[in-house]
């Protein structure tokens, strides 16, 4: 799903990093991972899977909650893509998540910022992303995250 001639990031059908990420997310059914750097919590990932049948859909539903406790640690100053580009990329990524029955929730310091994938219920954010698979839970936290990632 590449739109050529555009400079923002896209999720390619043959993107090995994304494919590996989906394989990992699909194979982990529950549990959590915490990352500490210099004795400071930097990131927490919680994964839950339920087998409940919802709307006749009996596929497993995996929820991955990623909480960036120290978001500036993950800054990539060389990345020059803006918030809209990131959201468009997220829309492509979110479509793949929905297709695989995965929900990905991104939080900043414990506050939910963005939900992608199966359980995303977008309202106004649909206007920006043109996607049914991406929900901006908090514009404030999303903007803060963008600033954190851009920090040198």
């Amino acid at each position: 799903m590449i739109l050529f001639g555009r400079k923002h990031l896209h999720v390619s059908e043959s993107d090995q990093i994304i494919d590996s990420l989906f394989k990992i997310m699909s194979s982990v059914s529950s549990g959590s991972i915490k990352l500490e750097v210099a004795n400071q919590p930097a990131m927490k990932i919680e994964i839950n899977t339920n087998d409940d049948q919802v709307d006749g859909d009996d596929n497993n539903r995996t929820v991955v909650r990623l909480d960036l406790l120290e978001p500036t640690f993950f800054s990539v100053p060389d990345d020059q893509t803006g918030l809209f580009d990131k959201l468009r990329t997220a829309a492509e990524f979110a479509q793949k998540l929905t297709d695989n029955g995965i929900t990905f929730s991104l939080s900043r310091k414990g506050k939910e910022a963005i939900t992608l994938g199966k359980e995303a219920r977008p309202s106004l954010s649909r206007i920006i992303t043109k996607s049914n698979d991406i929900q901006v839970n908090s514009i404030k936290e999303s903007a803060k995250l963008k600033d954190d990632f851009d920090d040198a």
Partner: protein, 97 residues
Amino acid sequence: MLNNNTGKHANMGEKQGGKTRQGEEQKVESKWAQIVSQVMEKVVSGTNMSTTIEFDNLEVDVPKAKGPDGRDLGGATWKLNGKVVWITEAHKDQGSI
């Protein structure tokens, strides 16, 4: 290079366009890889830094697989608990001036 609208040149342009697309695709993928590697580099190779990864009841479903002779190797569920800690230290090279 001048662009000439003959069929031959149009084909060449198409071929060149194909190459350009491949190039762009590679650039996009390398950019993903670049971003991931930058973050990984910070986590793995930061100097004078300790990094801890703690696994808490992490259940990994290992899918069924077939052996080289077609034998069914079965699947498994791995449960991970515990911490992995690594510390990096920078030392002065005594041989340097």
